[in-house]
C-alpha cells in the first residue's frame, strides 16, 4: 500500500500577522514557520498504518523551498520518501489539485492530511482531494482501522462520534487523540538532512477565489476587570446580566 501524507508549512501559532496600510496584502516578513500541528498526527498515523500493513509512506508538501524543512522532519520521523511541489501562490483549490495529481502519479491508496492547517483553517483538504480523485473521504478522524480494503473509522461530531465504514482508496483528515506522534531521534534527524527530496512540477489551475481585502480585527472588548470582593462579584453578575445580557 502506498500512503501519501500531505503536510503544510504554516506561520507559528504565536506569530504576529499584520496587514499593509492599504489593506491589500498580508505582512508575513520575519514570521517563523512550523510544521502544521495537526500534520504531526497525520505523519504518525501514516507510519503506524505502514507498520501494521506494510507498504511505503511518501510525504508531500506544496509550498516554498524553505518548506523542505518540514519534509526533513517527516523523513526523520520515518517516512520513506519526500516530495515538494514548489509553489507559493496557489489557493486551497490549487493546492488540492496538485495533491490529487501527485497521489494519482504514485498510485496512493490512502491519503492522510491534518484536520486543518492553521493558516487558512478551512478544514477542506480531505473532501476536496477526495472529490477530485473520485475517492471517498472522512474528515476529523480520531480512530482508523484498516482490514484488507475495508476501513473502519470514528470521527468527532457535535456532541459525539460518528462510526463509519469505507473502502480504499480513501482520503482522511486526522486530529489529536488518534495517536501520539513520535519525536525523531538525533541520529534520524542528522540522516534526514542528506536524504533526497523530489521536486514535482506544479500544475496550474485557475484560482476560484481571490482575497481582495485584509484587516486586523479591532478588539472591542469592554475590558472591565474587577477585584474579588463581594461587591465586585455582585457587579460582575450585574454586568453579565444587564450590560452584556448573556445571563
Amino acid at each position: 500500500m502506498t500512503i501519501l501524507v500531505c503536510i503544510s508549512y504554516v506561520p507559528d501559532t504565536a506569530a504576529k500577522i499584520g496587514v499593509t496600510s492599504d489593506g491589500t496584502a498580508l505582512q508575513l516578513e520575519g514570521v517563523k514557520y512550523i510544521l502544521n500541528p495537526y500534520d504531526e498526527f497525520a505523519i504518525e498515523e501514516a507510519l503506524l498504518q505502514r507498520e501494521r500493513h506494510g507498504g511505503r509512506v511518501v510525504a508531500l508538501t506544496v509550498g516554498p523551498d524553505a518548506a523542505k524543512e518540514i519534509l526533513r522532519t517527516a523523513l526523520a520521523m520515518g517516512v520513506d520518501s519526500a516530495a515538494i511541489v514548489p509553489a507559493t501562490t496557489f489557493d486551497s483549490f490549487g493546492v488540492a489539485s496538485n495533491i490529487a495529481a501527485y497521489a494519482k502519479a504514485i498510485d496512493a491508496s490512502l491519503i492522510i492530511v491534518g484536520r486543518q492547517s492553521i493558516d487558512h483553517d478551512s478544514f477542506q483538504m480531505a473532501s476536496t482531494v477526495g472529490a477530485l480523485l473520485g475517492f471517498p473521504s472522512i474528515s476529523v478522524v480520531s480512530k482508523l482501522e484498516i482490514s484488507g480494503d475495508r476501513v473502519y473509522a470514528e470521527r468527532d461530531i457535535e456532541g459525539g462520534k460518528e462510526l463509519l465504514e469505507a473502502t480504499l482508496p480513501l482520503v482522511v483528515s486526522v486530529q489529536k487523540g488518534i495517536n501520539n506522534p513520535r519525536y525523531p531521534k538525533l541520529p534520524e534527524i542528522m540522516k534526514a538532512k542528506s536524504k533526497p527530496i523530489e521536486t514535482v512540477e506544479p500544475i496550474t489551475v485557475p484560482p476560484r477565489a481571490t482575497m481582495v481585502r485584509f484587516e486586523v480585527p479591532q478588539l472591542k472588548r469592554a475590558n472591565k476587570i474587577l477585584g474579588d470582593s463581594d461587591a465586585d462579584i455582585a457587579e460582575f453578575i450585574r454586568l453579565l446580566h444587564e450590560e452584556a445580557k448573556v445571563l
Binding site: 501559532t13 462510526l163 463509519l164 489529536k176
Partner: protein
Amino acid sequence: MSTVAVFIERRGGVIKRAALEAVTAARSLADTVIALEIGRGELDVLASYGVHEVVSIEHPLLERYSSQAAAEAIAQWIQQRPVEALLFGATAMGKELAPRVAVLLDAAYLPDCIALSKSDGHIQATRPLYAGKVRATVQPLTSRTVFSLRPNMFTARMCDEATNPVQSTFTPTLDQNHCRVVVTDIVRNDGKLDVLEADIIVSGGRGMKGPEHFVLIEELASVLGGAVGASRAVVDAGWRPHSEQVGQTGKTVSPNLYLACGISGAVQHLAGMSSSKVIAAINKDKDVPIFKVADYGIVGDVFEVIPKLIEHIRALKQRGTS
C-alpha cells in the same frame, strides 16, 4: 432575480440552528431562498424562517448517510437550477460535505465565513485567517459559489409572516459507487452538552489545580445551562476528555458567553475562543493574557469566587422565574 439554496442539516430529526442561521443570511442576499434537504422533514419551521421553496432529495441509497452520495445528489440538483450560491452551516457535517459539492460543481468554496455581503451583484464573504488574527474579504471567481457559515456568527430570525413554500422531490441518480463511505452509527456523549452547541461555555484550566475540582466548573456550567470546556494543559494532563478542549488542536467555539476559570489564555487557547460574543475570566493573576481579551474579569481565587457566582446566578434565575 437571484436564487440562493441552503442545505438543511438535521440531527435526530431536528433542524440544526446553523441551518436556520444560513436561511436568514440567504434571505438578505437573494429574492428566492430554496431549502435543500435529504429526506422529507417538517415544513412549518422552514416556512416560519421565510423559505420560498423546499426540495426534498430522496433516494434509497441516502437512507444511511454517506457524504459522498449526499454531495453527488446535491450537485445533481444544483446543476439543473440557476442557483448562484449554496450555503451550509460550518458544522462537522457541513465542513465535510460543502467542499465536496463545490468540486463537483466547479464552484469556489469559501469556508467558515463570518459575514456575507453583496458587491456589484456578487456575494463576497469575510472569513478569519490565522485563527482570527486577520480577516479577509474573499471574492469568488466562479459563476456559482459554495459557502459554509461559522455557527453563531449569523442570527437566525423568523419572519413576521411565514411563507407558503412550494414543495418538491428530487430523485438523484446514484449507485453503490457513490456510497464507498457510510455512517454506520452515531455514539452520543452521555447527555452532556457539547461546547460546539452551547450558548454558554464555562472552561477550566490549570488554575483548577486538579481534576477533582472540576465539579465546581460543572456546577457553574449547569446553573448557567452551559457546557464544560477545558484548556489544552488539563486535557494533556488527563483531567478532562479531548472532546472538551477549546483552542488549537481542540475546538473553535463562538458562544454568547465564554467564561474562562483559571485559564491564563495562551495564544493557542485564544485561537479557539476569541470570536466569542462575550468573554469573561476569573484568574488570580491580574497580568495573564486572558484579561486582555476579556469583557469582564475578576482577579481572584477561583475556589472562592466560583461558589459565590453559583449562588448569585441561582438567585438571579429564581428571581427570573418567580
